[in-house]
Amino acid sequence: MMCWDPRIEEMPKEELQRMQYKLLKSLVYRLYSFSPFYHDRMKEEKVHPDDIRSLSDVKKLPFMFKRDLRDNYPDKIFTASQDELVRYHVSSGTTGKPTVVGYTQNDLNLWTSSLARGLTSIGLGRGDVIQVSYGYGLFTGGLGMHYGAERIGATVLPTSVGNTERQIELMQDLGATAIACTPSYLLHIGEVAEKMGVDIKKDTKLRAGILGAEPWTSGMRTRIESWLGIKAYDIYGTSELSGPMYTECAEQKGFHIWSDIALVEIIDPKTGESLEPGEKGELTITMLQKEALPMIRFRIGDITTVEEGICPCGRTHPRIQRIQGRVDDMLIIRGINVFPSQVEFALMAIPEVGQHFQIIVERKGALDDMLVRVELNKESFSDKITDIMKVKEKVEHRLRNSLNVNVNIELVEPGSLPRFEGKSKKVIDKRSL
């Protein structure tokens, strides 16, 4: 096994937890003393740094939310002064006002080495050409991946997003061995390549995709891997944590969350209670070493489970499983919780329809009505209406079984649903609630 930092990556769990406790303790003392925001929060919760006597005492600390960053726009809760900062990133603000994240040099170093560990764990390194097709700029994806890839000695091809035909030409001409982008953009690249007569499998050296920044499913992974002939690795991160930060290893069994960088908890999104390892809930992360913008028990809003056991790759750090939905993406249809990722997962198992979809929710009378638009595949088109109706009924039946709610299906022409080059917006909720 190749490790970027074997001492940390293979450190026994007890040692890691001792390290986490020390880091947490000094972090809490530092914030209590120097951050008016966090000082007040702790006072409100009647917690004092002296109450943190073990790692599990993290539960006594108050939560942080995305809104804390919005409410304190742009930099009111930063704990480093502007002259200590070396970079800003700004989130897209799709869910409200934008949020600003600042970084000291140490923050950038930690972010970059986290990625260096991850990229090494999937077998990338010197000699690889990594095409970075995440957006460069205010979004953390492009620059974050860029520095991580350079750190491991790979050659970066900084294509950013867009101009897909040129991306494919450069991928061929410069022999890109890996690509980092959103899974939906990689699907788009695959479709454009096909139209150009380029077979990614045979005509390029691509062998790995580092895919993230939007939810996707294992079904989508299987499809990408067999279609494009590459290994597709999931990567996780949000700007509040730094950016794209944690990848799967070659085992593809969840993201390794480096314990020296972050403390992971899974909580019940309704009650805030901590859940046992293996239980599904909201991911909550405490960044143990961030300087400019510390995040304590930050509730990301992503739904997942945590696996504490040692990975087959030998790394000892906890792994979180593929993100299964967002607390705020969650649709409530006739009282039932529905995640768009469940729809995607169910569709992936139905060969008659394509991988793109759109969910439209309306209120008809007193009832919610959920319509899923999905493309009928070329191979399953028949001149007989009854054959097509069978496909429609099959999809409706499968979705009803996996979502526990009635779904109407609209079959649409192939290629007619919008393709997105950034974060996919797959849900249109027309209910005025």
């Binding site: 009928l376 070329k378 088109f381 028949s382 001149d383 007989k384 209406i385 097509i388 109706m389 429609k392 609209e410 079959l411 649409v412 022409e413 192939p414 290629g415 007619s416």
Partner: protein, 144 residues
């Protein structure tokens, strides 16, 4: 019996059921100077299937596919009917007696006679039965 010369290539097109879809299909065919000889639309909830006999089916298939349409070829037959009361009955009875199922059908009334386009489950059997019963099948060359 050589049944092949009576098998006609119909093009079938998947279409969403919304304004303008037929227009864009017809426009594409017009651009390629493809003539539509017979035509029908079957509709279901949210979508439809346009079926047509054209003079250049391969060209039509290619054009519509590049525009992103779901297109398929289907084997159909064309029977000449007497354009008088009972004309349809004569043909339908031949197939019914032979236990051949009509999946769908559409008709047009031409200069000389009425023509019934049939999509059946057993194409070769249908051709044989119709011919042996003395009815007239139009050859493929009439269309393309």
């Amino acid at each position: 019996m050589d049944t092949k010369k009576f098998v006609i290539k119909q093009i079938s097109i998947f279409s969403e059921n919304r304004p303008g879809r037929l227009a864009s299909i017809a426009h594409a065919l017009g651009e390629e100077k493809i003539n539509i000889l017979a035509f029908s639309i079957a509709e279901a909830s949210g979508f439809g299937v346009v079926r047509a006999l054209v003079d250049h089916p391969d060209k039509a298939y290619k054009k519509l596919s590049t525009l992103g349409f779901n297109v398929a070829f289907t084997d159909v037959i064309a029977v000449q009917m007497k354009d008088i009361p009972g004309g349809l009955y004569e043909i339908a009875k031949i197939l019914g007696d032979a236990q051949i199922n009509i999946e769908y059908s559409y008709a047009y009334s031409g200069k000389d006679a009425a023509v019934l386009i049939l999509r059946v489950d057993l194409v070769d059997d249908a051709i044989e039965k119709i011919l042996t019963s003395g009815a007239t099948l139009l050859e493929r060359t009439v269309f393309h």
